[in-house]
Symmetry: C2
Subunit: 299 residues, 2 copies
């Protein structure tokens, strides 16, 4: 079996497990008040790649715990989706298209989209706290997710810095901060979920540190590739509006280093991520393959 | 010392402890990115009554643990404030005045207000998970806060039902659902925080149930009084725009039962709340006094 087929099968199997769990965890559209649940489901089930929960599963596998992390992994997807819904709002990026579907505010109106984003964040923490997990695991995952999603070096902080940098000539340091906070923080947390899960909230620190390093590097690579694709791809291929970064004068890697320089930087991150996994055995196969996939993806 | 003075002193002391803790827990405005932290602080420190954290402290006192719940209690205030920021947005209630100050979106713009609300929700869970609490307490409080703030019988669910009911003749059941979910759920959770804290996440169920009943009833009374004040008070006295419910055809108690009927219903809730505390000793003095205060308040 070729590498691509093995990776396709790997990703497809984990994605199915994640989707099944999301289906179970999200309230049904006929649970009142139905509108909000329909809006949450619209955005969660609009064909996301599930990179973050799959990374959590792959990291748990690398630590020898291949099953059972699916539900907490879905909390990562809920936070990611809430951030997309709010990011697409007219007051923020004002994007009408997401994952190839109308953005939440286009399909359900602005007020429902704001509340659906809020609700997905709430649900993420509710999921972490209501599974059959050791309390130490729950507490550690809540701290991890909230820190990665927060304002100080976390996702919201990155979004704010991103907005503030619009229209200015960005410095290396600003672009690095924005990417690290806006995207890499949550991807790093996804990977760290794996060791938190495998070791019940008090992970072996060397392994946890290695996974953190891996997560930070592929997180950065992920956002660099995202920025490159925004320049070189069509909206059709991306499932969202392409070319927005340049039109909004965003602080991106391509704006600073050009396309080829950015691709080079992404490959360097990939190398550093793979080296961080040196101490792991064959069970880290998934993490290694996903790192390649993140850098070589075309959508 | 008269009852009013004792109650004033009681509330003033607890509020100071809450404000001191909020000051410690909220990132400073000079922590980058500064705008978001300034916006979060603008709304949190705009003179809130701190009813929810004070209730958590009073409930912990009633359970024999008078000190140490301040930080988790602040998580309740963060969730409450995030909901106010988003509720005031143009796409929702479109209110320019809150707690006597410009609403967050008026002071900082809509995009920052959306992200500041998001960030206060994130911070609430981060606070719960990063204090020196037993992991069982953290896990139980996260579940409690997320459920009370969520879509199924929780705060967001109540907001959605509230919006959906605008302009229709509400039924008794709808108004009761909206009030229970929109306001009473978080107030009930605040009181339940007290027993979760005092008994490290696995509270004595009879006491916990009695506090839940007390919390549900004063929560309902709180919202009924809020609706009455919206009709009978001035914007100056309230620190927010008065008369909005009628102008937006909101599903309120006054719309259904009139002013006097609503006041009567609030007094009944007060009676039921106090009866739920029958099994508690003098240490529940704070809870009993706050219940009176909630029903007799004029702003």
């Amino acid at each position: 079996m070729g590498l691509t087929t093995r990776l396709d099968d790997y990703v497809s199997d984990r994605r199915k497990r994640v989707d099944r769990e999301l289906e179970r965890l999200l309230p049904h559209s006929d649970t009142p008040p139905g509108t909000i649940h329909a809006a949450m489901r619209h955005s969660v089930f609009a064909g996301g790649k599930r990179i973050r929960p799959i990374l959590a599963i792959a990291a748990a596998e690398a630590c020898g715990s291949p099953f059972g992390i699916e539900a907490p992994a879905c909390a990562l997807e809920c936070v990611h989706t809430y951030s997309l819904i709010h990011d697409d709002l007219p007051a923020l990026d004002n994007d009408d298209l997401r994952r190839g579907e109308p953005a939440c505010h286009k399909a359900f109106g602005e007020s429902t989209a704001i509340l659906a984003g809020d609700a997905l964040q709430t649900l993420a923490f509710q999921i972490l706290a209501t599974q059959d997990l050791p309390a130490e695991t729950t507490a550690a995952m809540v701290a991890e997710l909230a820190t990665a999603g927060g304002t100080v070096d976390g996702m919201i902080g990155g979004q704010v810095a991103d907005i503030e940098a619009e229209g200015y000539d960005p410095t290396d340091g600003q672009v690095e901060y924005i990417h690290r906070a806006k995207t890499a923080a949550l991807i790093r947390a996804s990977v760290r979920f794996g060791s938190l899960y495998a070791e019940a909230g008090t992970p072996n620190s060397m392994r946890h540190e290695a996974l953190s390093q891996y997560g930070a590097k592929i997180g950065l690579a992920f956002q660099i590739v995202d920025d490159v694709l925004d320049v070189v791809s069509s909206s059709d291929a991306l499932g969202k509006t392409a070319g927005k970064d340049a039109s909004q004068s965003k602080a991106t890697y391509p704006a600073l280093y050009g396309i080829e320089g950015s691709r080079q930087r992404a490959r360097e991150c990939l190398g550093e991520a793979l080296r961080a996994l040196d101490g792991f055995d064959e069970r880290a196969w998934g993490l290694r393959a996903i790192a390649d996939l993140i850098v070589s993806r075309t959508s």
